[in-house]
């Protein structure tokens, strides 16, 4: 296959079967660093990450290994790391590191890519040298001197990210141990052995590089499905000489900022119809994060974040109220009417189903958000309207001309209020001669 044909396939490659997908990735890797190939790999990357394809070992990959958990995520479903590093920044930085160390000297590190007794020492030496180079680059950037080779606009976030990379590389062997403790990623529940492992490594870092402790904890948190969960564990950890309280506050601030950022992410623009199911999913995630953070705060008897927690909770409350609950019945009932007069389509119906599912999803967090009454009112109102529709449509018998509308109304009741309620309505309407 010609490279042009391969590239033309674009995101269709995401849907081919796994063995073929692996072959294509292998083929692309052998084709080198052409920008078109890099672009195609960027398209394929989410699936490559999902399938955990073992890539050909390169020094660039080894360079990224300690901080790869902080790379920006692909989909909204994955939690973003607490401190994000852009891939483009890493690409730019690696060119600079490569140039500064020099190709000949880098060749000396080839042993780090091959299995054998030399691998560990060579890898650690490589990380140590790259850490020193990146630390110099970070110092220059902080002093306002930016090399031309850094092809991106310099922003405070990017300066911070380069400094973070330097710090992480300097504790890279510890990060390797951390990955062994927190595997496979994402860790959904923190067990005692996880916490003990993190504590041991953190104490080691606190002795040698106390300034690296925060970024170490951020890397650890990014390997969890809910980064805020680590906060709770952190309060009980014995970190030796480190100022646990300061670290806890610092990390709590980062977690809070992330939760605040996420709570702002789905504020619908004017006129834009919100994807109600996505809003509900986000709300459920945010409430989980808020609960984990609040638990940690309660354990530490810390009240300094109370106000911010309250504000975020308020903003999630508002988000659910305006984007999930408000007008929920209208969208669902309109889709049903479209079905009756033949104007409705499948997309509209799928959207209505999503609205119904969003309502149900929010039932799990309504209590925490103080929306129980409002949700109950919306659910009851929608269910009552749907029941009327179903009764009108199925009243003339289950095989009548409007039966499709009637059955769809019952399905919507099922999605909103559950199967038991829907079955009850169905039984009431169709009586003894059920269905």
């Amino acid at each position: 296959m010609e490279i042009r044909d391969l590239l033309a396939l674009g995101d269709q490659l995401l849907h081919i079967d796994e063995p073929k997908f692996r072959q294509i990735v292998q083929l692309l890797e052998q084709m080198g660093d052409h920008p078109d190939i890099q672009r195609t790999i960027a398209v394929l990357r989410p699936r490559m990450a999902e399938l955990r394809i073992n890539r050909r070992p390169t020094l660039k990959r080894l360079f990224c290994d300690p901080f790869e958990d902080l790379f920006e995520t692909f989909g909204k479903s994955e939690p973003a790391p607490l401190s994000v590093i852009e891939r483009s920044l890493m690409n730019s930085l690696w060119s600079m590191v490569e140039a500064q160390i020099g190709k000949d000297r880098l060749k000396g590190y080839r042993g780090a890519l091959q299995e054998g007794p030399q691998q560990k020492a060579a890898t650690e030496a490589f990380w140590a040298e790259t850490a020193a180079v990146v630390a110099d680059i970070a110092a220059e950037m902080q002093a306002g001197r930016v090399a031309e080779a850094f092809r991106l606009r310099v922003t405070p976030d990017r300066v911070r990210a380069v400094a973070d990379i330097a710090t992480i590389l300097s504790i890279a062997p510890d990060i390797r141990d951390l990955k062994a403790v927190l595997s496979p990623k994402p860790v959904t529940k923190l067990h005692q052995d996880h916490l003990d492992g993190i504590q041991d490594i953190a104490r080691r870092i606190a002795r040698g590089r106390p300034d690296a402790l925060k970024i170490f904890i951020l890397v650890a948190a990014s390997r969890l499905s809910e980064p805020a969960v680590l906060l709770g564990g952190l309060w009980d950890m014995d970190l030796g000489r480190a100022d646990r309280a300061a670290l806890f506050m610092d990390l709590s601030g980062t977690v809070m900022a992330q939760i605040e950022g996420r709570s702002r992410s789905l504020k619908g623009g004017p006129g834009a119809a919100p994807d109600r199911l996505a809003v509900a999913d986000l709300a459920v995630d945010l409430v989980a994060s808020l609960d984990a953070t609040r638990d940690a705060m309660e354990r530490s008897r810390n009240k300094s974040f109370d106000q911010r927690l309250k504000e975020v909770r308020g903003s999630v409350h508002e988000m659910v109220r305006t984007q999930v609950l408000q007008g929920a019945d209208g969208g669902i009932v309109t889709a049903l009417d479209g079905l009756g007069d033949g104007t409705g389509d499948r997309a509209q119906m799928a959207q209505a189903e999503n609205q119904a599912r969003a309502l149900r999803k929010c039932a799990t967090i309504a209590d925490q958000l103080g929306l129980r009454g409002e949700l109950k009112a919306v659910t009851q109102k929608t269910t009552a309207t749907l029941t009327d529709k179903a009764r009108a449509a199925l009243g003339r018998g289950p095989a009548g001309p409007a039966s499709r509308t009637g059955y769809t109304a019952i399905r919507m009741i099922e999605l909103i209020a559950g199967s038991a309620e829907a079955n009850k309505v169905m039984d009431e309407i169709l009586g003894g001669g059920r269905r």
Binding site: Y407, R411, N423
Partner: protein, 367 residues
């Protein structure tokens, strides 16, 4: 690991026909008739133990919380006359069509019913052509005039009368034999058909499933690999059996003149082969679609899917000469125990709506 595989039926009727329920715990469970001709359902053991629950059909809604769609399907099957794979399919399409399993299920059911109608027309035409060919008559005139046109129908009547005469039959008898034959092979179609019918397509897909699963299980170190290998093996045996039956059927139809002349004897052969084929391939549509969906997903999801397929895989009954499948499955289970997969929200005991919708999507693809 709860599974329908730890139960070794002797015949297809004992095994029961798979029902495409959308309630996760009931998905692909099997229905059959008991000794008093009452329907009963076989549910894999819920507590990870051996054996299966045999629940009277009437009591099923009392024993398990079901989706509204499933209650409707349950009623339709109860009201129906039988519980063969064809009877179950008819009820399944009728239930899906009403809208209780969502708009995609409606579209899939309507497409399947349209396909059935097209196949019915095609098979009738092909059998008429075969009848005419058997006595040396040409059918191109009919085609030219259009099968549905008045002229085409007049031509068909004339030619069929001539054919009946040559075969020493009354035209009405010839028509009735062709109609009966068409009903038997409707879901299988003829080997020469330009558009393969449902069971032929299914057999081809099953071969694809076997190949894909074999590839997946080879050199795979996950704990699901031996289970995947076993599933591929069951598919292999099923394909081999189905191929033999299909061959018998194709041969019988190919000797069309003999088939019509010796109708009383041959109809039994054709009917048995057609019935056996539908039993052999019963339950595989869903599993093939489930696997096709998992192929593009992560390793972990593929492992879970393999376990799910194993849970309800249609093993060949003992009388089909594969008596070892059940004990092989049993041995596999002993070696590969894994934790229970939750089908209900453990906090509320409510059905997991996301899982129900996933089943609906797969079911739509399999229709």
């Amino acid at each position: 690991m709860r599974s329908l595989t730890n139960f070794a039926p002797s015949t297809f009727e004992d095994r029961g026909a798979a029902v495409a329920f959308t309630t996760p715990v009931l998905a692909q469970t099997r229905v059959r008739k008991d000794s008093r001709e009452q329907l009963e359902v076989l549910v894999p053991n819920l507590s990870e133990g051996r054996g299966v629950y045999v629940v009277p059909w009437k009591s099923l809604p009392l024993a398990f919380p079901m989706t509204v769609h499933d209650r409707m399907l349950h009623d339709l099957i109860a009201k129906g006359e039988g519980c063969s794979p064809d009877d179950i399919r008819k009820a399944t399409l009728e239930a899906a069509r009403c809208g209780l399993a969502g708009p995609d299920a409606v579209a899939a059911a309507e497409a399947a019913l349209r396909d059935d109608d097209e196949q019915r027309l095609l098979i009738n035409y092909q059998l008429i052509v075969e009848a005419l060919k058997a006595v040396g008559l040409e059918s191109t005139e009919i085609l030219r005039a259009g099968l549905a046109s008045a002229e085409g129908q007049r031509l068909t009547r004339d030619l069929m009368s001539k054919a009946a005469h040559s075969l020493g039959l009354e035209p009405t008898e010839l028509y009735s034999r062709i109609a009966e034959l068409a009903a038997y092979v409707e879901s299988i179609g003829l080997a020469t058909s330009p558009k393969p019918a449902r069971l032929r397509r299914l057999m081809r897909d099953l071969q694809g499933f076997r190949d894909s699963m074999t590839d997946w299980a080879t050199d795979n170190v996950s704990e699901a690999a031996p289970i995947g290998g076993f599933c591929a093996e069951v598919a292999e045996h099923t394909v081999n059996h189905a191929r033999t039956v299909m061959k018998q059927l194709d041969q019988a139809v190919a000797s069309f003149e003999v088939l019509i002349r010796q109708w009383d004897v041959k109809r039994v052969v054709v009917r048995k082969a057609a019935t056996r084929l539908s039993w052999l391939l019963d339950g595989w549509e869903y599993l093939i679609a489930l696997w096709a969906d998992a192929v593009a997903k992560s390793r972990h999801e593929q492992d879970l899917t393999v376990h799910e397929i194993f849970r309800v895989i249609p093993l060949l009954p003992k009388n089909e000469g594969q008596g070892d499948q059940a004990s092989a499955a049993d041995a596999l289970m002993q070696n590969n125990r894994r934790s229970v997969r939750a089908y209900v929200d453990w906090r509320s005991g409510q059905l997991d709506v996301d899982l129900v919708m996933r089943i609906e999507t797969i079911k739509g693809k399999a229709a």
